[in-house]
């Protein structure tokens, strides 16, 4: 028997592969002498009490993981938020063009009947309101998408 075969046989004995160990030990006097040592190791390893997790450990882990799970949930919605923003931004040039036409027309009409300063003031207020509404609309997109994803997740998980 060569050393490798002896290693194989005794390792099989240590790790409980009885058939392979017996086949080797039957024909190897040297390993039969070492058998007691390996069996003693096996006995010691087997006698070790099984470590038991303390009660409440899982709950502690779940509490600690809660912020990370929340972060995962937010990140999971990023692709949907990106898609929604792209979809919302697509018509923006058209909206801006029409708004610009309305503002120009309003300014032209108002400046015929009102003093220039007052006409400019009214048109400026109108434009500012439009810009604010657009900004609020686009700011709401990620919030609405995240909320929708959360609701979908709650529905799918009862």
């Amino acid at each position: 028997m060569n050393l490798h075969e002896c290693d194989e046989g005794l390792t099989a004995l240590l790790f409980g592969d009885a058939a392979a160990a017996a086949a080797h030990l039957a024909g190897c006097a040297r390993c039969r002498m070492e058998r007691a040592d390996v069996e003693r190791v096996r006995g010691v390893l087997a006698a070790a009490p099984e470590p038991v997790p303390p009660p409440g450990l899982a709950a502690r882990v779940l509490r600690a993981a809660a912020p990370l799970l929340a972060r995962n949930a937010r990140r999971a919605t990023w692709p949907a938020v990106a898609r929604a923003l792209v979809a919302a931004l697509l018509p923006l040039p058209l909206i801006a063009f029409f708004d610009w036409q309305i503002v120009r027309t309003a300014h032209a009409v108002l400046s015929r009947v009102l003093p220039d300063a007052l006409s400019f003031y009214l048109v400026f207020n109108y434009t500012a309101t439009l810009v604010l509404l657009l900004a609020l609309t686009y700011a709401a997109v990620p919030i609405l998408v995240e909320r929708q994803a959360r609701l979908r997740h709650q529905e799918s998980h009862g």
């Binding site: 290693d7 194989e8 005794l10 390792t11 240590l14 790790f15 409980g16 070492e34 040592d37 390996v38 003693r40 190791v41 010691v44 390893l45 006698a47 070790a48 099984e50 470590p51 038991v52 997790p53 303390p54 450990l57 899982a58 502690r60 882990v61 779940l62 600690a64 993981a65 809660a66 990370l68 799970l69 929340a70 972060r71 995962n72 949930a73 937010r74 990140r75 999971a76 997740h153 998980h157």
Partner: protein
């Protein structure tokens, strides 16, 4: 019943109930692995940190791989880091006992495992206590199967020599 791989995908989406289910399934094996690797020290902290890393890295989990292999790899890396931390607490197996009567009492599994170099200890714990095959151990330890074999052989020789003393 959802597979571990499906559950970790749900964890990547922030699902707490999926994490609870994974914890329930793997609580004992993981706890045992860490306990045997560190000799019972700092087990709860390492156990918790393993799960936190699982949650952090859930998005990067490769669904082609087995969850258990990935979980043990994370735990193993944490255990390795733990062993590198100062101050180490050396276990002097040679000093434990000299008479035959003392040997059996003193040579407990923890001391035996602590006497092994870390790569051999990992292989022995996974083979003996978790009943993993050589291929699975090689996947966890990220080394060739032949290396696992030689580590197990060397560990067996070393443990037998300790038992002989």
């Amino acid at each position: 019943m959802a597979t571990d791989e499906a559950l970790i995908a749900a964890v990547a989406g922030g699902d707490g109930s999926a994490l609870a289910e994974l914890c329930r399934r793997w609580e004992r094996p993981l706890f045992r692995f860490i306990d045997r690797h560190t000799g019972g020290r700092d087990v709860e902290d390492l156990y918790q940190e393993t799960w936190l890393r699982v949650v952090r890295a859930a998005r990067r989990f490769d669904p082609e791989r087995r969850f258990s292999t990935w979980l043990f790899q994370i735990a193993l890396n944490l255990c390795r880091d733990w062993h590198r931390r100062p101050p180490p607490e050396p276990v002097q197996v040679d000093d434990v006992a000299t008479t035959d009567a003392d040997v059996d009492a003193a040579l407990d599994a923890r001391r035996l495992l602590a006497a092994l170099p870390e790569p051999q200890r990992s292989a022995v714990v996974l083979r003996y206590y978790h009943d993993l095959g050589e291929d699975e151990i090689a996947a966890v330890l990220d080394c060739p199967r032949g290396t696992v074999k030689s580590r197990l052989h060397n560990a067996m020789r070393r443990l037998a020599a300790l038992a002989r003393k």
